[in-house]
Amino acid sequence: MAIAMTLLTLALLPFVAALAIALLHGAPRAVHSGIAGGASAAGLALLASLAAPALGGDVPLARWDWVPSLGLDLTLMVDPLGWMFGLLILGIGLLVVVFAHSYLYQNEDTGRFFASLMLFQGAMLGIVIAGNVLLLLVFWELTSLASFLLIGFWQHKAEARQGARMALAVTGGGGLALIGGMVLLGLIAGSFDLATILARGDIVRASPLYPLMLGLVLIGCFTKSAQFPFHFWLPHAMAAPTPVSAYLHSATMVKAGVFLLARLWPVLAGTELYTVTVTTVGLVTMIFGACVALFRHDLKSILAYSTISQLGMLVMLLGFSLEAAALAAVLHILNHAAFKAALFMSAGIVEHETGTRDIRRLGGLTKAMPVTAWIATLAAAAMAGLPPLGGFISKELMLYQTPKLVLAGLPWLLPVLATVGATFSVAYSLRFAAHLFAGKPREAEPFARAHDPSPAMWAAPALLTTLAVLLGLVPMLLAAPLVGAVTGAVTGSAPPEVELGLWHGVNLALILSMAAVAGGAVLLWRHAGLLALWERASLPDAKRMFELTLGLADRWTRKALVATHTPSLQRMLLASFAVTILLVIEGALTGGGVLTGTRPGLPANLPAIAAWTLLIAATLATALDSHNRLRALLFVSVIGLVVSLAFAVLSAPDLALTQISVEAVTVLLMLLALNLLPKQPPVISSASRKTRDAAIAIAGGLLVGGIAWAMLTRDPGPSIAAFHLANAKPGGGGTNVVNVILVDFRAYDTLGEIIVLGIAGLGIFALLDTAEVGASGARLRAWRADMPHSPERHPMMLVAASRIILPLTLAVGIYLFLRGHNQPGGGFIGALVVAIAFLVQYLAAGFDWSDARKPFGEHNLIGWGVLVAMATGLGAMALGAPFLTSWFDYFSLPLIGKFELASAMLFDTGVFLTVLGAVMLALAQLSHVATRAARAAGEDKP
C-alpha cells in the first residue's frame, strides 16, 4: 500500500498547496512562494522515490473506484513517460517558483498567482500520471481552466483578458473534441483503463470508427500544442507574466498535446492516415513558426513562435511512427524544456531590468548584464542546435530520420523541408542572441537602466542552461538511460539501445545540419532586407480572423435563438399556456371517463363558504384591478390568509403556520419593492388582447379546477404514508410526521431546498448590491418619494410596541423551532417567525437603527446553515452510516427530567439558519436600497 499512498500524495500535493496558499491569501509573499516551492520539492522527492520501479519496468500503479458505472476509476500510474514529464513539471515548476518570487513586482497579488500556479501544476501532473483516460480528460480540462487564470493574471490589462479568453476558447474547444475522441477510443477498446487500451492497438486501428476517433483526438492534441492552424492562441498567451510563460508555454502545458500523442502512440500510430496527417501538420507548423519567429520583435513573441516551431518538430517526429524518431522526440522534449524555459526567464530578466521587450530597442546588453547574456546566449545556441550543445544532438537525430519517410511520393521532400525549418530555427535563435546582446545599444534609455539581477533571479535560468549544455557534453550519462526507458514506454515495446553522441562521422544528417547553420547565418546577415520584404507582404492576422469567427458564431446563435424563441415574454407565455391547455384538452378527450368520481365529499359549513367567497372575490379583484398595485397587494394578502385558514382546517397545522408567516414576509417584501416601482402605470393592453387573454385564462382555470375536482372525488391509490406514520416515532424519534419527513426521511430534498433558497438570497444580494452604479444608480439617486408619508418618520407607539414585542416574538419563534420534531413547528416556521420579529424592528425604527444592532450577518447565516446541515449528514457518514442518517436517544437530567436529543434537530438548525439568513438578506437589502434612495432624494431637496 505504500506505493498507493505515495501516488495519491503525489497527485494531491499541488492541490493541497494551492488551497493552503489561497487560504493564507493575506500572508507575505515568502509564505506563498515557500509553500509552492516546498510542495514542488516534496513532489520531486516523491517522484525520485518512484524512480527505480518506474524506470525499471515495474510500473507503480494504484486504483480506486470513483464512478464505476461510467468506467471512471481513480487510477494513478507512473510509467517512464509519466515519470519524465513529472520530472519536468515538478522540476521546472520549482525553478519557476524561485524565479517568480523575485520577478513579481512589489504590490502583486502573489497569493492568487501561486495558488493558480499550483492548481495548474496539479492538473498537469494529473494528466501525466492518470491511468484512466476519463480521469486524464478531467485533468486536461483543468489545465485549460488554470491556464486561463494564469494568462489573465494581470486582469487590468485588456490584452491579458483577451489572450486568456482566446486560449480558453481554443484549448477548451479542442478539449471538447478530445472528450469525444477519448470516449470513442474507450468504446472501441472496450475499457477506459489506459493500460488496457494501450494493449489493444490492433483492435482500435481496425475499427471503422478509428478515423473519426483519430481526428477528434488530434484536434485536442493540436489545439493544446499550438499546431497550425490552431497556433494563434499561444503568442497572445504571452500577455501572461513571464514565469507563467516559462512554465506553461515552454515545458508543460503546450507539451500536453505532444505528451498525449506519445501516450497513445501504441494505439494511434502506424496507419497511413496517422503518419501523413501528423507528419504534415508538424512539418507545416515547424516551418511556419520558425519563419514568423524570425520577424517578430517582442522577445516573448519570438519565443512563442519558436515554441510553436519546436512543438511542430516534436509532433512531426511522433508522426513518423518509427521507434528511432520517437527516441529523437523524447530527447528533444528534454532539451527543449531546458533551453526554452531558460530563454523565457532570460527574456523576463531583460524586461524586468530594462523595461522593454522590444528587440529593436535593445542591443549590446553583454556589457550591462554579462551573466544574463551568457545564460541566454548559451540557451539560444542550444535552440539553434549548435554543437556541442544538447539541441545539436536531437536536431541531428531528427534530420537523420527524415529520409526514412516519403511524403507525396517525393523522397527528397521531407529532408529538404525539415532542413528549411531548421535553417529558420538557426536564424531566429542567432538573432535572439545577437540582436539582444551583441553590437551596440540601439536606444540609450533601456540600456542605461540595464544591469544583472540578483542571483536569486538568474539562478534558475542558469541551472537550466547548464543542463542544456550538459545534455550535449555528456548525453550518455545524463539522458541515455531515461530516454531509452521513455522511448520503450512510448512505443510500448522493450527499451531500445540508446547511442547518443556529438560525432557520428560525416553523414547526410551532419551535412543537412551544417547547411542549416550556414543558411541561418545568411538569413541573419540579410535580416534587415528580409524584414522589409516581410512587412510589405500583408499577411492575414489570426487574431482578427478568430474574432471574426467568434462574431459570426455569436450572430448566428442569436439568429437561431430568435428564430426559435420570440424575445417577447408575453408571446412566449401565451404560447406555453395555449399549448399546455390544448394538450390537456386532447388528453381529456382521448382519456375518456367521467369527471366526477365516487368518493363522498365533506359537507362544508358556513364559515368555509364565507372564506371561499372571500378568496374568489379577492382573486377576481387582484386580476381585474391590478393597475392599482397597492390595492392588488392587499387583495393578494387576503388570498394568502384564506389559504392559511384552509390548511389549518384541513389537518395541516404546519402548512398553516408556514403559509401565514411567509405571507407576512412576502407582503413586506412587495411593499418595499413597490415603493421604488411605478405604482400606476398607464393601461397599455388593448381590449381585444384582454379578451383573448381572459379566454385563455378561463380555459386554464376550468381545466385545472376540473382536474383538481376529478382528483378530489376519487380515492387515492396506495400511499407510502403508512410507512412514514409507522416509522416517524420509532425510526425518526418525532411525533410530528411532517417534520420528521423533512429532516429525516427526505432530508436530502430539504438540503437541496435550503441551498436553493440560500442561492436565491445571494442572487438578490448581487442584484441589489450593484444597483447603485450606472443607469440604475442614477435612477435611484433621482428617486422621489411619491407615497403619502406619516408625518412622523418612526411613530413613537410603533417603535415602543415593536421593542416590547421583540423578545416575545423571538421566544415564540424559538419555541416553534424547538418543538418542531413533535408538534407543529420546526426550522422553516421558526426561522420565518424570528425573521418577522427582526423585520418589525426594521419597519418601526428604520434600517440604520436596526442594522447597527443586528448581531449577525445574513451571508454568514446562509453559509453556516448549509454547512451545519451538510456536517450533520457527513457526521453520519463518519460514523459509517449513509449520508444524512439520523440518530436520536433519550437522556434524563435532574430537574429537567427525560428529554430527547436527535441529530435531526441539528439538521433542522441548519434549515433554520439558512431560511433566516435568506429572508433577512432579501428584505434588509431591499430596505437598504430604498433607504439610500430616499436619503439621496432628501439631500437634494433644499
Binding site: 424575445p567 417577447s568 415574454l569 399556456f577 365533506l602 363558504i609 382573486t619 377576481l620 387582484t622 391590478s626 392588488a632 393578494v636 388570498i639 384552509a646 390548511f647 389537518s651 395541516a652 397545522p653 404546519d654 402548512l655 411567509v662 417584501l669 419593492a673 421604488l676 416601482l677 411605478p678 402605470p681 398607464p682 393592453s685 387573454d693 381572459a694 385564462a697 378561463i698 386554464g700 382555470g701 385545472v704 379546477g705 382536474i707 383538481a708 375536482w709 378530489l712 400511499s719 412514514h724 416517524a728 411525533t735 410530528n736 411532517v738 430539504t750 431546498e753 436565491a760 438570497g761 438578490i764 443607469a775 442614477a778 435612477r779 439617486r781 433621482a782 407543529p824 422553516f828 432579501a922
Partner: protein, 126 residues
C-alpha cells in the same frame, strides 16, 4: 356544497387569475400572476393527499387515522421556495426597471417615468 367543490373551484379561479395576470405587460402584474399560480399549485399538491378534517399527522398512541403527511411535507418546502422565487423575481423586476427605466416585461422603452417618482437620472444611459 362540499369542501372538495370549494377547494377545486378555488384552485381553478386562482389559476385563471394567475394566467390572466401573467400575460400582462408590467412586471409587477406578472409577479402577482406568479403568486396566484403558486397558491394554486401548492393547494393542488396538498389536495393530492385528499381533504381530511381534524386528523393532523401528529402521531399519538390513541389515534389510528391520520391524513397523508407526505404532500404536506412537500408543500411546506414548496411554500418557502415560492417565497424565494417570488422575492428573486420581484428584485429582478425592480433591477430591470432601474436599469432601463421601464417596467415592461420585455424591457421596452415604454415611457412611464413621467407618472411616477422615478425620473431618468442625468447619468442614465438610453
Amino acid at each position: 356544497m362540499s369542501y372538495e367543490f370549494l377547494f377545486a373551484s378555488a384552485i381553478g379561479v386562482l389559476v385563471a387569475g394567475g394566467i390572466f395576470l401573467a400575460l400582462r405587460a408590467r412586471t409587477f402584474q406578472v409577479v402577482m400572476g406568479l403568486t396566484l399560480i403558486s397558491y394554486a399549485v401548492n393547494l393542488f399538491l396538498f389536495a393530492s393527499g385528499r381533504l381530511v378534517l381534524n386528523r393532523p399527522p401528529i402521531w399519538d398512541k390513541t389515534v389510528s387515522e391520520y391524513t397523508d403527511p407526505l404532500p404536506q411535507a412537500l408543500v411546506l418546502t414548496a411554500i418557502v421556495i415560492t417565497f424565494g422565487m417570488t422575492a428573486f423575481v420581484v428584485i429582478l423586476a425592480l433591477r430591470s426597471f432601474l436599469e432601463t427605466g421601464s417596467d415592461h416585461v420585455d424591457g421596452d422603452r415604454v415611457p412611464c417615468d413621467a407618472q411616477d417618482g422615478l425620473a431618468d437620472g442625468e447619468g442614465a444611459e438610453p
